[in-house]
Amino acid sequence: MSDEPEKKRGLFGRLFGGKPDDRAPGPETVADTPPSNAVVPAFEGGEGRDVPAGIPAAASTEELPAKQGWLQRLKAGLAKTSTKLSDGITGVFTKRKLDNETLEDLEDVLIQADLGLETTERVLATLRKTRFDKTIAPEEVRQVLAEEVERVLTPVAVPLRISGLNQPEVILFVGVNGTGKTTTIGKLAARFRTEGRSVLLAAGDTFRAAAIEQLSVWGERTGVRVVSREVGADAAGLAFDALSEAKRDKIDVLMIDTAGRLQNKKGLMEELEKVVRVLKKSDPTAPHQVLLVLDATTGQNAISQVEAFQLVAGVTGIVMTKLDGTARGGILVAISAKFKVPVVALGVGERVEDLQPFDAREFAQAIAQS
């Protein structure tokens, strides 16, 4: 069925030289006891934490090497596409002063990274204000550019945290179709298990063909139980039951998958609203986190996605996926400026380990290519 050949090793696998089949899910040896410390950052560091057998050690200690890998990977991706940001900037600035024409060219360069017109213009306005008509070295422009982008992104670089105050911490996943919700849940399940937390998954996509089976495979991979109902069942009811079960079994983290839905479908958005409402009936503080999963290839529409899901479900964090492709996800800059929603993780592949914390500087540098 889905036995992935090991020809393509995951990013972490390559970075840490771990055995490819280390990816295998952790068996039920993971302690079900909740972590003793109240606040454990889900993504930060890994030293001193017990790593359960069967979970790749690398997955929890990605801090330093991952940074490098993320940038390298992006650069590799960038190098393979034709009109490149770096070429663009270098080409533009070795030749000329920072005049209007140059700024116009630079505008093109940023637009191609999907920053959108408005954000591009804001970045350019900074350049215009500080450097207009000065001869400017290529490195300097990249620097200014990266700094400006980083400035926008820094406030939203907030790692995913499990407060430890809620049992369970309820995390609801939302987003349009095919962005990577189910996959991200799978990746996070492995992560949480690595951190020694007990996890329960709820197959809230009762609509799409084999959505339940897909999540179940992730459950098997990560050694996590999946609560499901029959196809076509009420997603809100399922979420409620899952929460009751998680409470009963003293689960640390409950992750609820939902069907993909386009934000302009009123009925489907109302259905999502209902899931949130019903959860609150069981626990008024739930869901504690609502993660919106965005696809990096998405253009300007991502803005209205954030807007709509924010309104209906109260998004607390963003996960951007598919950054291992050619898309740079520059729309995230526009989104950060506008909504200031934390970006809690990035998806960089299809494997369990292909999830990374969001680092504003790396992301900015990848866009500015310094």
Binding site: M1, D3, D114, G178, A210, Q214, K266, A302, D324, A327
Partner: protein, 545 residues
């Protein structure tokens, strides 16, 4: 978020004096706005540049017809060129080959390949009476093969059984063998999603293509894709070679610039569009519709379809009948408000309408359309007794206070609602006096005058001849009767002849849209409460120059 191109261009050209032809600098200014519009719609930058160059060449020196503004002229050129570039001729899936005809589906992760495979399977089976076999070569994504099997079951199309441990290439060969021996007409090969820089996976799909010699290779791409559309399209075209493109999630509210980008960089036609998650949500590509969206001119077709789906035609007809009889009571108003609500709220409707950006701003300036207002107004009506609803006249101060308290509003709100109802009723009476015009206007108000609801809606914008006829009817109206009408209605009527004169201008498209919006008649939007619409802007067009 996006201002429509027509609004922007009218801004650009407002500054200019009217000339007989367009100068190069006029056109350059306009092209900057066109560029913006295209970029905001996610058309890839290189493609935008080529496009504006082409349009510029056509626009400079183009003669501007007297009745058309330069902005209109440019929009027409841009629109025509866009449609031409998107491909004006339909190019359906080609099955003209020795069966089994193999169709290979490729694309990025999550673009909609598996869903589209099932949709095509369903279409070929039911519409074209073909014997179709589907096979999943996706050995990677969890439950990908189960997904196709379940879909096959739902649409009763055969799916190649799973044999564990086979490579995609092996599955493809087995599928072709099964298709041959089983007498299938068409074989659909679904593949795993892949990024274009994953060399191994690109090799894999290229190998499958070599081995199976598919008659069609369809690149399935998300209509919401941004600038990356060119990278993806170029890479799949170069490494695999595609024969056509399927655009999915066209049911979203993206502007769909990816369509133009992909078409332009591959030279391959867009063959189909996905407009939903169900297996029948597959349509032939209509370049005009996408062109309208890319330019931000509003998706008129989409609006009409959506309205037709949402609104209860039967109820609308019943209301129209009451209007005809002049017995439009508060229950009817409530029903109308509800239908407006069901359309997805004013905000989303207005966003879909061409030329609406400016008007929206004016309305916002005038206090804004309060979507809650519609709810509140309906609450007011529901706090009345059935008797009061049918006979609003009985509502005295005391009753009004009771209704206000019951609906959590103020007596002023109740008064405002009653005035709105009176205005509408007056309008109906006026229409009753002039039978010829009545049907037309009722139609414009989306209440199914003339040819019933469908006719009123689908009729779209009135033709020049129809507008002229309406003008004539208007001229025959008793001026005194008009003078008795509420001021906003008078103004709307006055604006009508203008729409007739400028029938080629963008504002003249508004009456057509009026047809899709019940409850918006009479120049007064429900939910808008106090202020009437900005002068002459709706529903009878004629933005004043």
């Amino acid at each position: 978020m996006f201002q429509s191109l027509s609004d922007r261009l009218s801004g650009v050209f407002d500054k200019l004096t009217r000339r007989g032809s367009l100068s190069e600098s006029d056109v350059n200014d306009a092209m900057r706005e066109v560029r913006r519009a295209l970029l905001e719609a996610d058309v890839a930058l290189d493609v935008v540049r080529d496009f504006t160059d082409k349009v510029k060449a056509k626009a400079v020196g183009a003669n501007v017809v007297k009745s058309i503004s330069p902005g209109q002229m440019v929009i027409k050129i841009v629109n025509d060129e866009l449609v031409a570039m998107l491909g004006s001729d339909a190019s359906p899936i080609d099955l003209n080959a020795q069966p089994p005809v193999t169709i290979l589906m490729v694309g990025l992760q999550g673009s909609g390949k598996t869903t589209t495979t099932a949709k095509i399977g369903h279409r070929l089976t039911t519409r074209d009476k073909k014997k179709v076999l589907m096979a999943s070569l996706d050995t990677r994504r969890p439950a990908a093969m189960e997904q196709l099997i379940i879909l096959g079951h739902q649409i009763t199309v055969d799916v190649l059984p799973i044999v564990a441990g086979q490579t995609p290439l092996q599955i493809a060969m087995r599928a072709q063998e099964t298709a041959r021996t089983g007498g299938f007409d068409v074989l659909l090969l679904d593949t795993a999603g892949r990024t274009t820089i994953d060399e191994e996976l690109m090799d894999e799909v290229a190998e499958v293509k070599r081995a199976t010699s598919p008659h069609e290779v369809l690149l399935v791409a998300d209509a919401l894709t941004g600038q990356d559309a060119v990278n993806t399209a170029k890479a799949f075209e170069a490494r695999v070679g595609v024969t056509g493109i399927v655009l999915t999630r066209v049911d979203g509210d993206g502007r769909g610039g990816a369509a133009l980008s992909m078409r332009a960089v591959t030279g391959r036609p867009i063959k189909l569009i996905g407009v939903g998650e169900k297996w029948d949500a597959l349509e032939d590509f209509d370049p005009k519709r996408i062109a309208g969206r890319i330019l931000g001119m509003g998706d008129i077709v989409g609006l009409v379809e959506r309205a037709a789906q949402t609104l209860d035609a039967g109820k609308a007809m019943a209301i129209a009948e009451k209007m005809r009889k002049g017995s439009f009571d508060l229950d009817d108003l409530s029903e109308q408000l509800k239908q407006v609500e069901q359309l997805g709220g004013m905000g989303s409707i207005m966003g879909m309408m061409p030329g609406i950006g400016k008007m929206k701003k004016q309305i916002e300036a005038a206090g804004g359309i309060d979507e809650k207002m519609i709810k509140r107004q309906r609450a007011i009506i529901s706090s009345m007794t059935p008797h009061e609803r049918r006979n609003p006249k009985v509502l005295d101060g005391k009753r009004k206070r009771r209704v206000a308290a019951g609906s959590g509003t103020k007596p002023e709100d109740v008064n405002r609602l009653l005035k709105q109802h009176r205005d509408m009723a007056d309008m109906m009476k006026m229409m009753k006096k002039t039978p010829g015009m009545m049907g037309k206007m009722a139609g414009m108000m989306g209440l199914g005058g003339g040819g019933g609801f469908g006719g009123g809606m689908g009729g779209g914008q009135p033709s020049a001849a129809e507008l002229e006829a309406m003008q004539k009817e208007l001229a025959q109206l008793d001026p005194q009767a008009i003078a008795q009408l509420p001021k906003d209605v008078q103004e709307a009527l006055k604006a009508l002849p203008k729409a007739g004169q400028q029938q080629a201008s963008k504002t003249a498209t508004l009456p057509g849209l009026g047809g899709g919006l019940p409850g918006l008649g009479g120049g007064r939007l429900p939910g808008l409460g106090g202020p009437a619409l900005p002068k002459g802007s709706f529903p009878f067009g004629g933005r004043k120059k």
